[in-house]
C-alpha cells in the first residue's frame, strides 16, 4: 500500500515533468496587453538583471512618473546565472520585459538563444562604434569598465619594491607569490583577466599561465573572496596584487566615509594587462510591455540614467555626454586594454577555460 502510494506519487511527478513539452525558443504570436492610458492604473515593467545591478531610487521614480509605470527589478543571481535562467525560461514566455547585464564575454550566447528583439534606442547613435557589437541592436551597450590588477600601495612602499606594470612582470621572481586571480570558471572578472592574457599572448597564453603558476599565483573562487579575504588590502590576506576593476581604487575613496583622501590601491595599466567588459541590455522578444520596454531602453541611454551608472555600479556610461561624478577623478583607464571579438570569445570560451583549468589547477 505505502509502496504503491510512493511509486504512484513520484511516478506521476516524473511523468508530468518528462511530458511537459520542453519548448524550443520559437516565436509565439505577439499579443501585448493593451497599454493603460495616462491616469489609469500604472503599468508594470519587469527588468530582469543580475545581483550587482544598482540604480538610484529617484532616477527610477522619474521614469515611473513620466510613463505612469511601476518598475519591478528582478535580480536572479550573478551575471552568468541571470542570463542562463533567462535562456532556460525560453523566448516565448520570458521572465520579464527588459534584460540588463549581458556582457561581451557572454554576448554571443545571449544572441544565439534568440531572446531579444531588435530595437535601436534613441541616443544609440552617439555611442562609440567600439562598443556596438550587435549591429542589429538586439543588445545595446549601456556601460563599460576595465578589469585590471589592483596593487596595495602601502605594501609596495614598505617593501621598497616597484609595483608591477605589465602582465609579464608578474612572472618575475621579485613578484613571486604576490598575485591572486579569480577562477575564470566561476567568476566574471576572472574570465575577463583570462581573456586579457589570451588577447595579449594569443595561442601562447598557456605558457604565460604556466610561468604564473610557477611564480605561485593564488586562485580564488570569486571576486569577493579574492578582494576581501586573500588580498593584503583587506588586512588578512598575503596577496598585495589582486584582479579587480580599474575603478576599485576610486570606489575605496568613495566608501571610506571621507577618511581616505586618495586611493590606497593602484592599477596595473600596462598594455594588454586589462580587459574591457561592456554591458548590454535588450528587450525580450515576447515582452508583455514592449512599448514601455523600448521607452526604458531609451531612458537607459539618457543622461539622467547614464550619469547615475558610475555612482551606482562603478563603471563608465557609454553616452559620451554623460558627466562623471567627482570621485571618478581617481579612476584610471588603461590606454590599451586587450580585446577579442565576441564571436571568437563565444567559439573558444569553454576551451580556454578548460585549458586554463588543466594548466593552472591540475
Amino acid at each position: 500500500m505505502q509502496r504503491f502510494i510512493i511509486i504512484l506519487v513520484l511516478g506521476a511527478a516524473f511523468a508530468a515533468a518528462a511530458c511537459a513539452p520542453v519548448k524550443a525558443p520559437t516565436a509565439a504570436p505577439d499579443s501585448p496587453a493593451p497599454q493603460s492610458a495616462t491616469g489609469g492604473a500604472a503599468t508594470e515593467l519587469v527588468v530582469v538583471t543580475h545581483d550587482s545591478f544598482a540604480v538610484s531610487e529617484e532616477v527610477i521614480r522619474e521614469f515611473e512618473t513620466a510613463n505612469n509605470a511601476t518598475v519591478q527589478i528582478l535580480k536572479s543571481g550573478d551575471a552568468g546565472s541571470a542570463l542562463n535562467k533567462a535562456i532556460l525560461a525560453g523566448a516565448s514566455d520570458p521572465l520579464g520585459d527588459v534584460f540588463f547585464g549581458v556582457d561581451n564575454t557572454f554576448l554571443s550566447r545571449a544572441l544565439k538563444a534568440d531572446l531579444f528583439q531588435a530595437y535601436k534606442p534613441t541616443g544609440a547613435d552617439a555611442i562609440a562604434a567600439d562598443y556596438i557589437l550587435d549591429p542589429e541592436f538586439r543588445l545595446t551597450p549601456i556601460d563599460y569598465g576595465d578589469v585590471c590588477m589592483n596593487y596595495d600601495k602601502q605594501w609596495f612602499a614598505e617593501k621598497k619594491l616597484a609595483p608591477p606594470q605589465t602582465l609579464e612582470d608578474l612572472t618575475k621572481p621579485e613578484y613571486k607569490g604576490l598575485l591572486v586571480v579569480e577562477n575564470p570558471a566561476t567568476s566574471s572578472p576572472g574570465l575577463a583577466f583570462l581573456l586579457a592574457t589570451v588577447g595579449t599572448y594569443g595561442t601562447g597564453y598557456l605558457d604565460f599561465w604556466t610561468k604564473l603558476r610557477a611564480n605561485d599565483v593564488a586562485i580564488s573562487e570569486g571576486w569577493e573572496d579574492a578582494y576581501y579575504t586573500k588580498s593584503t588590502w583587506s588586512g588578512n590576506g598575503d596577496r598585495p596584487v589582486v584582479v579587480s576593476y580599474a575603478t576599485s581604487p576610486a570606489a575605496e575613496v568613495f566608501f571610506s566615509d571621507g577618511k581616505l583622501k586618495e586611493p590606497p590601491t593602484g592599477n596595473v595599466l600596462g598594455d594588454g594587462a586589462c580587459f574591457r567588459q561592456i554591458e548590454f541590455a535588450g528587450v525580450f522578444r515576447n515582452a508583455k510591455q514592449p512599448e514601455l520596454a523600448r521607452k526604458f531602453m531609451d531612458f537607459m541611454l539618457s543622461p539622467r540614467f547614464q550619469e547615475d551608472i558610475p555612482l551606482q555600479m562603478f563603471v563608465y556610461p557609454v553616452n559620451p555626454d554623460a558627466k562623471l561624478p567627482d570621485f571618478f577623478e581617481f579612476a584610471e583607464t588603461p590606454k590599451k586594454p586587450a580585446t577579442i571579438a565576441a564571436k571568437e570569445i563565444e567559439a573558444n570560451r569553454e576551451t580556454w577555460i578548460k585549458e586554463w583549468t588543466q594548466t593552472v589547477l591540475r
Binding site: D51, E57, E58, G90, E224, D225
Partner: protein, 553 residues
C-alpha cells in the same frame, strides 16, 4: 495500524516532495538529457572517460568521510556533558554552538584567515613565542583547513542529535553493569555506545552528506585546486552552461548519496532498540565533585574557543572602521547613502529572514512529524521513504534552481517571483534534518505502550497525542531549531528570490561584499554580527519555551 490512515499520513509530505523536488528535478533532467529531442548521454561518457572526474569523486568521498569522523569525535564529549550534567548557562552555550552552522562562508572565510592564515593570530603568536621568522602553520589551500571548517560548521548537528538521545538514555543500565563489576570503559563500549549508535549514525549521515556536497568551504578555504562534485556541478552548470554534463554529475551525486542512505537505513533499523526513555530529572545531575567540574569546564571552554573564536574575530572586524573602533558600521547599515532603488534596510532583511524562518519551522516540523511517524510505523519500505526524504540534501542547489525555472515559470504552475517559494525551498533543505532528529526517538518508543493504549480503547489519533507526542516533543524541539537555523543561513535557494525587497540576511551580506570599499566590508561584518546576535537570542528563547518538565514523559 490502520493502513489507510498511514497512507494518508504519508501522502501529505510525499506530495510536497513530489511537487517541489521531483517535479523540478525531472524537468531539468529532461531538459538536459532530452533537450535535443533524442537521449543525450554524452555527459556520462565524458565523466567516465576522464580520470579527472573519477579523481574528483574520490576526493569528495574521502574528505567527507574523514571530516565526518573528526566531527563526531570532536562533538561526543560535549554531547555527553549536556546529556548528563546540569550547570548554569547551559541553554546559552547550547544556543551559541548553533551559530557557526548559519554563518555564510564568505564572512567566515576572512575570520578563518585572520586566525589561521599566514599573517593570522595563531601564526603570529607562535612566531613570537618561538622566535620564528616564517609562519610555522600553512593551512590555507590544504585539506586541514577544510577539516577544521567542516568540524566548525557541522559540530552542532552531532552535538544536538547525540546529546538529545543521550539525555533520554536510562543511566540505570550502566549503573547495574557497574554494580556487577564492569569498568567504565566496558560500560561505555558495551552499553552506552550501542544504544547511542542509531543517533550517532543519524547525525553522521547528515554530516557526511553536508561534507560530501560541500561548496563554499571548499571553494574559498580549500583553494581552487581542490574540488568536490558540487563545485564541479556549479562550474559546469552556471558558467560553462553544459547542462548534460552538469545533470550527469548531479545524478552521480544523488546516486552516491542514495547508496549511502540504503546502507545506513539497513544499519539503523537493525540497531534501534525500543527502551524505556527517562525524563531529564533522572538522567541529569548537578556538578558536585571537583573532578567533574574541571572536566566539564575544560571541555566547554575548548568547545567555545574553537566554535566562537572565528565569530569573535568577525565581531572585532565589524567594529573596525576607517576612523578607529566604534559602532560606525552598524549605524551606517540603515543609511541608503547612494539613494539606491534596490537598497534594503537591514531591519527589513532581518524581518524577511525571521518571517521565512518561522514559516519554515512550522511547515518543516509538521511535515516531518507526519513523515517520521509513517516511517517508523512501516515494517517494510520504511527505509525507502527515509531515503526519499534525504535526497533534496544531496541535490546541487544550482541544478535544482534551474529546475525551478523550467518547472515553475510557465503554465500551469507559473510561480515565478512567488515569495512563498523561499520558505518552500528552505523546508526542502530542512526536512531531512528534522526527520532525522525525530525518527530515532520515535523508534525507541516501546510498541507495547501504544498497543496497551489502543487496547484500552484509544483511537490512533489519541494514541499519538497521549503516547507518542509527549515523548517526541524534545526531538521536535531539536528539529525546530535545525529548521530555524537552516532557514536563517540558507543561501543557495536565495537564487530563487528575484525580488530584492524580499532578500534575506545572508543575501544582504553577499550584496554588501559585492562592492569594493572598506565601508562595505565593515557593514557586511556588522550585518553578520547582527545575524548572529538575533539567531542566538531566538534559539535560546526556543529552547527555554519547552514544554514543562512533567509533561515530557
Amino acid at each position: 495500524m490502520n493502513r489507510k490512515l498511514l497512507g494518508l499520513v504519508l501522502l501529505v509530505p510525499l506530495v510536497f516532495l513530489a511537487l517541489f523536488y521531483f517535479y523540478p528535478l525531472g524537468a531539468i533532467l529532461g531538459y538536459s538529457f532530452f533537450g535535443t529531442g533524442t537521449l543525450d548521454l554524452s555527459g556520462f561518457r565524458e565523466i567516465f572517460g576522464d580520470p579527472y572526474y573519477l579523481g574528483v569523486l574520490w576526493f569528495t568521498t574521502w574528505q567527507a568521510a574523514l571530516s565526518t569522523l573528526l566531527t563526531v569525535v570532536a562533538a561526543l564529549p560535549a554531547a555527553y556533558i549536556f546529556a548528563r550534567y546540569e550547570f548554569r548557562g547551559q541553554t546559552l552555550v547550547r544556543a551559541l554552538t548553533t551559530l557557526p552552522f548559519l554563518m555564510p562562508t564568505i564572512v567566515v572565510a576572512p575570520a578563518f584567515i585572520a586566525l589561521f592564515g599566514p599573517r593570522g593570530a595563531v601564526n603570529s603568536a607562535l612566531m613570537n613565542v618561538f622566535n620564528l621568522t616564517a609562519p610555522p602553520i600553512q593551512l590555507l589551500d590544504t585539506i586541514w583547513i577544510i577539516f577544521l571548517a567542516h568540524i566548525f560548521y557541522n559540530y552542532t548537528i552531532v552535538f544536538r542529535i547525540v546529546s538529545t538521545a543521550w539525555t533520554n538514555l536510562d543511566p540505570q543500565l550502566g549503573n547495574a553493569a557497574r554494580m556487577l563489576g564492569a569498568n567504565k570503559a566496558w560500560v561505555f563500549f558495551e552499553i552506552t555506545l550501542p544504544l547511542l549508535m542509531p543517533a550517532i549514525l543519524a547525525a553522521s549521515l547528515l554530516v557526511f552528506i553536508f561534507d560530501f556536497t560541500s561548496f563554499g568551504v571548499i571553494l574559498i578555504l580549500g583553494g581552487a585546486r581542490l574540488a568536490t562534485l558540487e563545485v564541479e556541478i556549479y562550474r559546469t552548470a552556471a558558467n560553462l552552461f553544459d547542462l548534460p554534463l552538469a545533470a550527469a554529475l548531479s545524478l552521480i551525486q544523488i546516486g552516491c548519496t542514495l547508496v549511502l542512505i540504503v546502507v545506513y537505513t539497513g544499519l539503523q533499523a537493525r540497531l534501534a532498540t525500543p527502551m524505556r526513555l527517562r525524563p531529564r530529572a533522572i538522567t541529569r545531575r548537578k556538578l558536585e565533585r571537583a573532578g567533574q567540574k574541571v572536566f566539564v569546564t575544560l571541555n566547554i571552554t575548548a568547545m567555545l574557543i574553537f566554535l566562537l573564536a572565528p565569530l569573535v574575530v568577525l565581531i572585532f572586524e565589524s567594529l573596525d572602521t576607517p576612523g578607529g573602533f566604534g559602532l560606525g558600521n552598524y549605524l551606517a547599515l540603515n543609511e541608503n547613502v547612494r539613494g539606491s532603488a534596490t537598497f534594503l534596510p537591514p531591519t527589513d532583511a532581518l524581518r524577511n529572514s525571521l518571517l521565512f524562518a518561522s514559516i519554515t519551522v512550522a511547515v518543516a516540523v509538521s511535515l516531518s512529524l507526519l513523515a517520521a511517524y509513517a516511517i517508523t510505523r512501516t515494517k517494510r519500505g520504511g527505509g525507502t521513504f527515509d531515503a526519499v526524504f534525504l535526497l533534496p540534501l544531496a541535490t546541487s542547489a544550482v541544478t535544482l534552481g534551474f529546475g525551478y525555472i523550467l518547472a515553475f515559470s510557465r503554465a500551469p504552475l507559473d510561480f515565478r517571483a512567488a515569495i512563498w517559494l523561499i520558505p518552500v525551498a528552505h523546508t526542502l533543505v530542512a526536512l531531512p534534518l528534522v526527520i532525522r532528529s525525530i525518527v530515532p526517538m520515535l523508534r525507541q518508543i516501546k510498541p507495547n505502550v501504544r498497543e496497551a493504549a489502543a487496547m484500552l480503547g484509544a483511537n490512533p489519533a489519541r494514541v499519538f497525542r497521549e503516547v507518542d507526542f509527549p515523548i517526541v516533543t524534545r526531538a521536535v524541539l531539536v528539529g525546530a531549531v535545525f529548521a530555524f537555523i537552516i532557514s536563517l543561513g540558507e543561501f543557495g535557494a536565495t537564487t530563487l528570490i528575484a525580488r530584492p525587497e524580499w532578500a534575506t540576511m545572508p543575501l544582504a551580506i553577499y550584496r554588501l561584499l559585492g562592492q569594493p570599499g572598506l565601508a562595505n566590508y565593515g557593514q557586511a561584518m556588522a550585518l553578520s554580527a547582527v545575524l548572529m546576535l538575533v539567531s542566538a537570542v531566538a534559539i535560546a528563547l526556543m529552547e527555554r519555551v519547552r514544554i514543562g518538565e512533567g509533561a515530557e514523559f
